[in-house]
Symmetry: C2
DNA sequence: CCAAAAGTGTTCTAGTTACACCCATGA
DNA sequence: TCATGGGTGTAACTAGAACACTTTTGG
């Protein structure tokens, strides 16, 4: 088959912004780059797109290589393509952000890549334009989590309302009234109260909840304002 | 300088979903593809990214080539990269959507590319995965316009409230109460009432408004629901 | 028994909706 | 003068915000 003539071909990489939450603060999974340039410097996990794979596929592969996890929440974020963003050779980077339960991450695997979790507000310097990518991911997450039930991806299957609140408070760097917060969350009908409690973080113990999966899928839409009844009109 | 070895390089294209509104319905600007494969079939305006340009730059260049317009609203949408989306050769497509005042579009320029406006709900078949791109752009626009003052990009500098309402009603395929609609729009404080009227579409005439540019920039944020006072926390 | 965290209700306010008539004008 | 589209106000309702005390239990 003919090719398009007279055009320049470039490398396409996928970079993953992998976010977790440890109950205290948001964490970002970084690796120490194993090859030049910027060897030993901290970097997002990434890789080149292979000939027979699509972009989502590449992102999933890269994520699995690093964490051993499949079926992680993964969403395409933005594509970065300044001509000299990688000094070695022109590389267009398609970024994805991932949300995962930090406890599922298997520590030993990280050794292969010298991977480490860093608090989002206390990170080392990153190579290239990776810091801009992280910034963008943070903004997207704040934006999206305000509208869609999304942050559960960061928690284990069973979680408590106080945990959930800490998650939101961490993301927005604010404190919310727990009465209003709980009411609002529960009013979505997305949660199923369990009969057992988490006694880890208090003497009284907090009831566990699970997501109602079927409702989760259907209620992914949102609540907006510029038009009347906007939720009728929005696709996720 | 060394290159990364053992990796495949691919073409990177930028495709633009160019939207306009003619007072009646939303329109999409398509071109008749001038080269094989799929020659003569309808397609989004696109082009390959050149060695010394970034992605946004490429999108702006492509848009200007087709319309002669600069400073058009342009936003990166999504990157498509299935291995065989272009049967000739692997091409990763970074899509942008553009909103422009359809009246500014200079018809004669379109001749070079056999460009034509098509109603969004009555389009010819498109090549490759371009239809999926258009769908995604529609969804993004619905989503975003519900939260941000964005649709003004489709109108001339001076516009009337009934025009604005038609714009929203067209996008959401719904009708809104004009009293409530006007109140809500005006309450944003984004509009400056002019002293002259548009007499084109009615005998009485409708007052023109202009955007208050300074407020437009500052009020780009939104109004949400999952957290209290979400507008405090959102970057556009 | 007490410190620490979980859980729960009510009032007030602001925003959203529903709804119907008068106005200005050109033909 | 009348048909057409532009413009306006109010009342009822709903959702969001502010606010403080009681419960449980491990140490």
């Amino acid at each position: 088959m003919m090719k398009y003539s007279g055009q320049t071909r470039v490398l396409v990489a996928v970079d993953c912004i992998i976010l977790g939450f440890d109950g205290e603060s948001y964490k970002l999974l970084l690796i120490q780059r194993g090859f030049a340039p910027e060897k030993k410097k901290w970097s997002l996990m990434g890789g080149f797109v292979q000939p027979q794979e699509g972009l989502d596929e590449a992102a999933n592969r890269i994520l699995e290589e690093l964490t051993g996890l499949k079926n992680v929440y993964l969403e395409q974020l933005h594509t970065f393509g300044s001509p000299h963003r990688d000094p070695v050779e022109r590389t267009v980077a398609v970024t994805y952000f991932a949300l995962l339960d930090i406890q599922k991450y298997e520590k030993q695997l990280s050794q292969d890549y010298h991977a480490e979790w860093f608090p989002l507000n206390d990170m080392p310097e990153l190579i290239f334009d990776h810091m801009a990518m992280v910034e963008m991911a943070k903004n997207r997450l704040r934006y999206k989590a305000a509208l869609h039930p999304l942050l559960f991806e960061l928690l284990p299957e069973k979680f408590t309302l106080p945990q959930l609140q800490a998650l939101y408070e961490g993301l927005y760097e604010a404190t919310f009234d727990k009465r209003n917060f709980n009411r609002k969350l529960l009013s979505t009908g997305l949660f199923v109260k369990q009969h057992d409690k988490d006694k880890e973080s208090s003497k009284k113990g907090a009831f566990f909840y699970k997501l109602d999966q079927s409702k989760y899928i259907n209620n992914f839409q949102a609540f907006l304002k510029f038009i009347p009844n906007p939720e009728k009109f929005l696709a996720p």
